[in-house]
Structures are given as structure tokens and as C-alpha cells.
Amino acid sequence: MTIVKTKTQKTPVGVKRVVNDFSFTIATMNGSGSQTSNLLLLRALFKMGIPVSGKNLFPSNIQGLPTWYTIRVSKDGYIARRDETEIVVALNKDTFVEDLEKVVPGGAFYYADHLKFNIQRDDITMYPMPVLKLVKESGAPTALRDYVANMVYVGSLAGMMGIDMDKIKLALEFHFGGRQKPIDLNFGLIQAAAEWAVDNLEKQDPFYVEPMDATDGLILADGNTSAALGSIYGGVQFLSWYPITPASSLPEALIHNISDLRDDPETGEKNYAIIQAEDELAAIGMAVGAGWSGLRAITSTSGPGISLMTEFIGLAYFAEVPVVIWDVIRVGPSTGLPTRTSQGDLTMVNFLGHGDTQQIILLPGTANECFEFGWRAFDIAERHQTPVFVLSDLDLGMNQWMSEPFEYPDEPMDRGKIHWEGDMEKLQEKWGRYKDVDGDGIPYRTVIGNRHAASSWFARGTGHDEFAVYSEDSQVWEENMARLIRKYETARKSMPEPISENMRGAVIGILAFGSTAAAIDEARDYLKEAGIKTNSMRVRAIPFTAEVKQFLKKYDVVYVVELNRDGQMHQLLTLEYPEFAGKMVSLPKHDGMPLSASWVKEAVMAEEQK
């Protein structure tokens, strides 16, 4: 590879450098193509070995409304969202004034110089960028000018902060899949902008990046892509889905990646089928049908879609059909804040269905875990012959996360208790679809295509006996419902265990789940500095495993932190463990934003000082 040399700004005299520990926010308009530039910056920083995270704050809109992208670099490895931003890049005239106000004192403000505002702040550094001039000089075709204009801020930031041009080139090559023409055009502009900035701007802010080796062996991935890939390694055979933010990129990533990994290289034949359904009612109906027929079936959606799927989930729970449902949560109720993040579907999903229902839920907290639960969810669903939900959220699903690499499944596929013709031949007594032969609540099932004359059964949502025959008998009903609870208790024993982080001498517990882990890990360090030692537990599944009870038992107080209004995890824990209700304190946050460590720290400190 050629080493690209670019000048970077020297540190101004008398300024103490702040290296790899700040945030910068790019303010643009939705649909302007800035996501390419933002990801270039994120990837280049990651390739420089600097712990990094990116959060896209976008509107429910195709083009024109404001959007912000915040990148945080952290030498300490913190990847949660911060409330503060040291640097802002302003390219949207509609939000210019508020963007200027966002910069913390001592920070920097880059702006396109054609945005004419006669406002100055004397506590920050203002950097005008001649965007139009540089784009014109780049020779970009007129039709592409608006898109490549974003490369000006990439170059300017690179020159002023010290982002490695080689790594930007690497990120460009990745983004454009090696297509030379767009790589050259964009890179030329980035270089020109970097040189212009170094030659013409006087660096006065203290924020720099320097190479580290803290990302070696890690990956950068969004949760939805990770989930899709995990599902492919889990042997997904049927996907039906309906578009909804923020879940759509999960099936789209699956469609994008599955052919290479699964199609027969010689015949091109597929061992799976994918259908975009007419609505969520049909999406879940198809998935339930496929699961019933013996396929590993999945659908993905968000809260409104879950509402529509509810009746089918009740049927699948009662008829005992394996199916995997990903709920990438956004803010509800109703259409709510469709492009903001939340953990607000927890209690709805836990009890989803009418009558008595309790669902199995997996709660991934990292990209790597989205991959793992992608394949594991099928094993759990087929083992227990029931719907399995995986609750992700917009932040985890759609943003890029630094993560441990995906690990190959460490267990063979578990297809559960299924009888084919040979198994039926060997049976000593009459087979019954809902007969609890092993005492674990899980019966043996057969699926279509089984040619054994005694293998068929009639699936139904109506009351049925052990042989799947219609029954309105009270005792039969009660026994069957009791068996379903027995099955749920069996599932409890094999759920993914929670992950705990401990400090010596801690008497306070923090319990959370999902995407808030990064903020909580960071907050615990700050609390420790403030003299408050905490141990944490990240719950990864419902039904809760024995470790959850142990954790609640052990500490004087347990803060339950989550992203919703009503403290839904706190509610479920209180129901399950009323004996510990008195020491659980709910700390819910529901502003639609990824959780920040400073909020967690303040919330815990406020409680501790009461």
C-alpha cells in the first residue's frame, strides 16, 4: 500500500493536548449522503486502533430534516453516548444556531463558509471550510457535487485532528468495494480539504487523535447485521418480514449476505426462502406456518408490528410452534418516536397473547451477542417448541458498535424433540403430540411430510388433549396449561446466564439489560471515583435464571436501570421476586436517546444522597 502523506496541524503554543478523549458531532440534512462520510471517519479511527463509537440521531424523514452523527473517541474504551460534544461540524443552515450552542467551551466549530451567519462565540474556535470552492476544484461531476461535498469535512477534520490518511483510504476502499473511480474522486477531495485546512486554518483547539492498539482483534458492526449473520449460521430456513424502522436492516442484511453463505455453489439452489409479506399479520403467520412445518423460521419487527403479531403469538404459544421474533425496539406508544431508541416493549412481549401466556425472551447487549442469539434463538425455539423473542433496540440494531468478533457456534444445532418415520416405528406406546413423556413439559412433535401413518396431527388454537384432539374438558385444559408452565420452568434452566462485573467491597448492585451496558460500565468507574462501589449484572434472558435471584439477594440496594417510562424490568423483577421488592430501586430513562454514563452516575448519586 502506498503511504499517503498529509500535513497535520502542529499543536499551538501553550495548549495542553487532549488526545483520543472527546466527541464530535456532524450536523447535516437527512438524505444528503453524509452517512458515507461519517462511517469513513468512524472506520478510519477504528483502524487507527482508537476505541470509537458512532451514534446516528436521525429524523423520521427521507430528505431535508436535520440529522446529527456523533463520534466518540475514548482512550479508556468507553463507547456509550456522551451528552457533551467538544466539536461540531455544521453543514445545515436550519440548525446552525443550535449547533453552535452545543459546543462545550474550549471546543471547536467547523462550518461550511457559504452558510452566512453573523454569530461568533469567543470561547470556542471557529473554522470556516470553503466547501463549494473545494468541490468545484475537485472536478466532480455536477450531479455528484452535493454528495462529495461531505468529503470536505472528512478532510478538514483529518488534517486538523490528525486522522491517518492511510486509514481513511482503507475505509473508502471498504465502502466502495474497491471501485477505483469513486475512491479516487472522494479521496482526492479529502486530501485537498486536509491540505487546505492545514495551510489556511490556525489550530487553536486542543483535540487530537493518535494511533493506539486498542481495537486489535475487534470488529465494528451494527446489531441488525450481526443478528442476520447469526441467523444464517443458525441455519435459518424461512424469513418473512414487513418493513419497519428500526428493524428493516435486519432482513435486508440477511438477504444481502445469505446467498454467498448458503446457496449451492454448483446449482444455485437455495435451502431457505424469504418473503416480504403484505403486513405484520401475514409476516408472523408465514413464520408460524414455516415453524410448524419443521423449518427454522424468523421474522423481525418493532413495537407496532409486535402488536399486530400478538394473536398469532398466542396461537404459536398454545399450539407449541417454534418461531423466532426479533423486536428491534423504538419509542412507543403508537407511532411514537419511530427513529429513537427504547426498551419499552419488555412487559408487552413478556406477556404477549391473550389468556395466560409467558414468553421466552433473549436480551442481547452487544453486536457479538446479536450474532450469538441469532443462531441460539433457533435452538431454544425448537428445543422448547415455542416462540422465542429477541429484544434489541434502535441503538444496538442500527448503530455501529465495537465488539468482540463473531464466534462460531460452539454447540451443534439442537432440533429438539422431533420424530421422523424411524422414530415412530420404534415407539412402544401410542404417540401423542402433547404428551409429556419426559416430565419436562416438552412433548415430541412430528412435522409435515412424515409418511408414517400415525404421525399426523391437527394443530389448533382450541382446547386439545394429549393427542391434539379437540377438547373442552376442564381437567384436560388445566393439565395442559400446567404443562406449559412446566415447559417454561424447563427453559429457565438453559437460558443464557447474566453477566456480572464486580468490585471488591461493593454493597450496591446495578441491574440492567441490552444496549445500556456500555453506559453502565462507564458510570461505575465514575461512581467509584466518587466513592461509590458497585457491582453490576446484565440480564440476558427471561425467564430469569437462578443467578438473578442471587444478585438481588446479595446487595443492600439494587438499582434497575432501563430505557422506558415505567421501569418495566423493575416491574417484572418485582413480580418474580416480591421478597426483594423493598430493595430494588427503579431508574428509568425514556428520552429516546442512547443512555449516557453521566445520567446513570447522577441518578445513582441522587438516590445515594437521599
Binding site: 419443521g294 463473531f406 444445532m413 412435522v447 411430510g449 412424515n450 409418511r451
Partner: protein, 348 residues
């Protein structure tokens, strides 16, 4: 199962007719649906279908209870109201070598299920989709369904003031590939149409007027036995000739008075001309003829439209022909370990 010659008590695959039966019906005595169930049993028996190679589906309602009353040796799924098509669609991928029979009702299809009905036609799922059409909700005791004619009076509901939905016109406008209408009182035609539908490589819609003897069987009702008997007009004398049998066209019919259509499996449909020569391949004409019959108050029955050229849903998905998806194992379904390293390298 080795093919045997029928000895009169069994069919060609050695099964007795009772092996195609189901549980005892719980529908009302005289219900049209029971008669249709009997014709399903007869058609499958006579076509020598292995019961395990049929899958049954239904939605919710009186009609949808009936799959429990035929083909006990077949798998079945009694699904949700109006959402049988989605379940049948998903399940069809488990093993595409199987055939499927679905029973729905007029409420299940034209009220709550109109969306899924339209979309399953778009996809041309290989499925015999029977609508047991009586214009009324039976299980909830006599409310109007969307196929009830305007002006129909029911005991507790008063008069229906809305226009009906015509299942056949909906199917024609959606370009479904097999569309037939029949009358439960015309058992022979029902059976022959069922046989033809079972050999169709795509979605076969059978809209069968199937009177509700309890709530909607007054002679003036368009879904009653009396009205059907008086107003049924067959498009043609329709018969199905399985591929094993030679086609015998009756010599007394003049040349040009018979149409024959070859199905995918080699069996033949013989359509003998009655009042006029009707070409079921002409969809535009079919719409005109059906509309005219509706205006004239005629119950037009027979094979209204057939298109054998369009691929079925399974064929559009390029699946292996030699083994069903639901018998595949980890070896085929989980990509090799080495592929994951390449994938991780791409994740940045």
C-alpha cells in the same frame, strides 16, 4: 407404498375409502359443508392420493372446523380468522412435494381475510383454496358476511343494505390461476372440480355455495338450497380424466363441442359445451360472463378461469427438487467455520 390394482374395495394404492375419512362432524345436519367434506374424501380416494401427502389448512368459522372431518391421516392446521393463507404459505416451504387443501368461509375470506386472500393469489401458492360460501356467520349465530346479497333479510339482523363482495370477481381481478364456482348441492361437479384443482400447480380458488340450513336457507336467499337448485347454470359439463385413464369423448357430441385441457401431471379436463362454447383461458370474457350472470340472478358454475403457464410460489424460489427443506440438517444449513473468519474481517 407399492401400487396395487383396485379390487373394488380399495383404490389403486390399496387404501379403503374409510382411510380418507375424518372425525365425526359437529356441524348441523344438512349443512352444505358436510357434503363438500364428503366430496374431498371421494376425490382424494379416487385420485389415489396418499393421505400423508396432503396437508390441510383452515381459518376460523364453521367451514374452518371441517378439516377435522376429513383425511384423518393428513397433517392439518386450524389457524386464525382470515389468516389461513399466510400459514399455508409458510408451511408450504417445509416440503414442496406435498399437496395442500384449505377450507375457508365467506366471512373468513371476504371479511376479515380479504387482504390475505388477495395476496395469496399474487403469490400463486400451490393450494386448493375452498370457500364454503353461505353468506352468513354461523358459529356466532347468524350475522351477515360480506358475500350476503343486498336486500337479504336475516332473523335478528334485519336487512343487508351493502353491496356484496363476489369471490370470483375478486379472484379474476387478481388474475388467480384456477378459478371455479360450484354448488354444494351439485356433488358430482364439486368432486370433478376438486380433482382438477388438486392437479393444478398453483392456487386453485373454489367458491362453493354451501347453504347454512340454520341461519340462511330461506328459498329467496341466494345462498339457499332452493335458490341454488333453481338458478344453477353450468358453464359446461365438466369432467376430470386422470392421467391413468384414456380420454373417451362421447361420440354423440358434434366436433368442436368439447374442449380438453391438459394439466401439469398429464391428466385432462374435458369441458363439454352446453349453451355456448366457453373458453376458460379468456379472463376478460370470464369477467363479462360472471358479471352478466350476477345481474341476471344466475348461479353460474364450472371452471371459470384457468392459466397453467404461471409458475407456482415454490418454483419461484429455486429450491432443491430432490429433498424437502424440513429434512435438511446442520451439515447443509450451517456455513463452514472458515467462512466466519472472512466475515469478521469484513466487519469494520
Amino acid at each position: 407404498m407399492a401400487a396395487k390394482k383396485s379390487n373394488g374395495k380399495t383404490n389403486l394404492i390399496g387404501l379403503r375409502k374409510r382411510e380418507y375419512r375424518g372425525g365425526v362432524t359437529t356441524l348441523c345436519a344438512g349443512c352444505g359443508h358436510n357434503s363438500i367434506s364428503n366430496q374431498i374424501i371421494a376425490a382424494c380416494y379416487e385420485l389415489n392420493i396418499v393421505p400423508e401427502e396432503i396437508v390441510k389448512f383452515s381459518g376460523i368459522g364453521c367451514s374452518s372446523k371441517s378439516p377435522a372431518y376429513f383425511l384423518n391421516r393428513s397433517f392439518g392446521f386450524n389457524t386464525l380468522h382470515g389468516r389461513m393463507p399466510s400459514v399455508a404459505t409458510g408451511a408450504s416451504f417445509g416440503d414442496t412435494s406435498l399437496r395442500a387443501i384449505a377450507v375457508s368461509g365467506d366471512g373468513d375470506t371476504s371479511n376479515i381475510g380479504l387482504g390475505q386472500f388477495k395476496h395469496v393469489m399474487r403469490r400463486n401458492l400451490k393450494l386448493v383454496y375452498i370457500v364454503e360460501n353461505n353468506g352468513v356467520y354461523g358459529l356466532t349465530k347468524g350475522q351477515f358476511s360480506a358475500t350476503a346479497e343486498r336486500g337479504l333479510k336475516l332473523k335478528y339482523q334485519g336487512e343487508n343494505t351493502y353491496m356484496p363482495i363476489d369471490i370470483i370477481m375478486e379472484a379474476l381481478s387478481s388474475d388467480a390461476t384456477f378459478i371455479a364456482r360450484s354448488f354444494a348441492g351439485d356433488a358430482k361437479q364439486v368432486k370433478e372440480l376438486l380433482k382438477a384443482a388438486l392437479t393444478h400447480e398453483g392456487l386453485a380458488i373454489l367458491d362453493i355455495v354451501s347453504p347454512c340450513v340454520t341461519f340462511n336457507n330461506r328459498p329467496e336467499s341466494k345462498h339457499s338450497y332452493d335458490w341454488g337448485k333453481e338458478h344453477e347454470q353450468q358453464l359446461h359439463d365438466f369432467s376430470f380424466v386422470p392421467k391413468e385413464e384414456e380420454i373417451m369423448i362421447d361420440g354423440e357430441f358434434p366436433e368442436g363441442s368439447t374442449r380438453t385441457i391438459t394439466m401439469h401431471d398429464g391428466s385432462t379436463l374435458v369441458l363439454k359445451k352446453l349453451e355456448s362454447d366457453y373458453d376458460p383461458g379468456d379472463r376478460w370474457n370470464a369477467m363479462r360472463v360472471v358479471e352478466k350472470s350476477n345481474q341476471e340472478g344466475v348461479l353460474l358454475t364450472g371452471l371459470i378461469h384457468l392459466n397453467t403457464r404461471r409458475a407456482s410460489l415454490a418454483k419461484m424460489h429455486n429450491l432443491p427438487e430432490d429433498r424437502p427443506l424440513n429434512r435438511m440438517t446442520e451439515r447443509e444449513l450451517r456455513p463452514a467455520k472458515k467462512t466466519l473468519d472472512a466475515l469478521n474481517a469484513k466487519m469494520f
